[in-house]
């Protein structure tokens, strides 16, 4: 790359390719060190991480008083979807009634997306894979198998794509409402193309609100940042009884267990 303060622009060089190549190297490095979804971990891993940081150590203690353990997810911009998907499917393994409700929602979701103008051909591909995993959960596959699926990039990324499509579809369906929350002069459609559908794009409140609404799954998010003494819980939607809990640290989501 260029030296400090100077830019040696070479017109024959394809910088975009170079950036992408570098991005892939970084992706590979991350992939080598971190599962998409880890085993259940003791909070001592967070205590070690923040050993030098009294503010965060205090917050980890407050987390420990409310939760048993956590699973970490890979920080690749897809962590919210991956954490949500895994935590919820894990829950479904032991809740047949909730599974039946969700299977119905999931199976109908393809037609909703197609009616919104998504191309049937490609939607079908992602939906089929999504349902394949949903049905594995329905057959009460062992937890290890679910864990393996979420760490198999082929499956795991397809699940993330479909959850992203669900969010995009819901935002577009309720565009009148959500357009008030989109920054800049972007339409909801543009927002979805830029911030929801592309892999690796991080999630904000608006994504969480949409995903919990379209799936009917309530989520508690424990916010752990610099302010205050403890982590702050927020339930989506407000006042609901959460099915799963996620830990939020700036830019990243992991899974929490009670």
């Amino acid at each position: 790359m260029a030296e400090e303060g100077t830019l040696h622009y070479d017109p024959d060089k394809n910088y975009d390719e170079e950036t992408l190549a570098q991005q892939r190297i970084i992706e590979k490095q991350i992939a080598g060190t971190q599962d998409f979804v880890t085993e259940r971990l003791d909070f001592s891993v967070l205590e070690q991480e923040y050993a030098e940081d009294p503010v965060y150590i205090k917050k980890v203690r407050s987390l420990k008083s409310k939760y048993l353990c956590l699973r970490k997810t890979r920080g690749d911009g897809n962590c919210f979807y991956r954490a949500f998907g895994f935590a919820y499917f894990e829950k479904l393994l032991e809740d047949q009634e909730e599974f039946n409700r969700f299977r119905d929602v999931a199976s109908k979701s393809k037609d909703v997306l197609v009616s919104l103008g998504f191309p049937q051909f490609t939607i079908e591909d992602f939906h089929d894979t999504f349902m394949e995993v949903v049905d594995k959960v329905g057959s009460q596959c062992p937890l290890e198998e679910l864990h393996k699926i979420f760490n198999d990039q082929g499956y795991s990324d397809y699940l993330v794509v479909y959850l992203r499509l669900l969010v995009s579809g819901h935002l577009q369906k309720e565009a009148d409402f959500f357009s008030n929350f989109v920054e800049g002069d972007r339409t909801i459609k543009e927002f979805c193309n830029q911030e929801v559908e592309p892999m690796g794009k991080e999630s904000d409140h608006i994504h969480i609100i949409a995903l919990t609404a379209v799936t009917g799954v309530s989520v508690r998010v424990e916010y752990m940042d610099r302010g205050g003494e403890t982590t702050n819980a927020h339930d989506f939607p407000d006042g609901s009884t959460p099915k799963i809990a996620l830990l939020y640290r700036p830019g990243h989501y992991d899974i929490l267990y009670t």
Binding site: P119, T122, Q194, P198, M199
Partner: protein, 166 residues
């Protein structure tokens, strides 16, 4: 796993394009044994300088398609601001979203996993008709197009003629 999935999807897309051809291009494989390498023939869009041409191009799909986009390369000569001198197509839909280094490509035109060969080629056809000279891959073609339309027209006409003989 990811590989079987992308191969399956590409087979389906190819089958679909054979069964229901899309106006403006035709598609097949370079080598029948390799689903990841396609050959397409793009018909020069009517009412443009490229009308009458038949331009051959190759598409190279990565194993993790459709999470990552394919690369596209014209085999026929095409004088165009967004096609570099090696034939590589430089169009935003074939690039993954990321922060825009030069700020010239709107992120909403970037690669999305729901794009297909059809949406790619329709974008390329519209690019032929309507070059984007803010981010030229072929600087000389962009200069002709902007400053010397007669010269641009002449060079394109030469490509069209050549493509008819291929």
């Amino acid at each position: 796993m990811a590989q079987e999935r992308s191969a399956l999807l590409l087979h389906r897309q190819l089958g679909e394009l054979m069964k229901n051809p899309v106006e403006g291009f035709s598609a097949g494989l370079i080598d029948d044994d390799d689903i990841y390498k396609w050959e397409v023939l793009i018909i020069g869009p009517p009412d443009t300088l490229f009308e009458g041409g038949f331009f051959k191009a190759h598409l190279y799909f990565p194993k993790d398609y459709p999470l990552k986009p394919p690369k596209m390369k014209f085999i026929s000569d095409v004088w165009h601001p967004n096609i570099d001198k090696n034939g590589d197509v430089c169009i935003s839909i074939l690039h993954e979203p990321g922060d825009d280094k030069y700020g010239y490509e709107k992120a909403n035109e970037r690669w999305l996993p729901i794009h297909t060969v059809e949406t790619i080629l329709l974008s390329v056809i519209s690019m032929l008709a309507d070059p984007n000279d803010e981010s030229p891959a072929n600087v000389d073609a962009a200069k002709d197009w902007r400053e010397n339309p007669a010269e641009f027209k002449k060079k394109v006409a030469r490509c069209v003629r050549k493509s008819q003989e291929e």
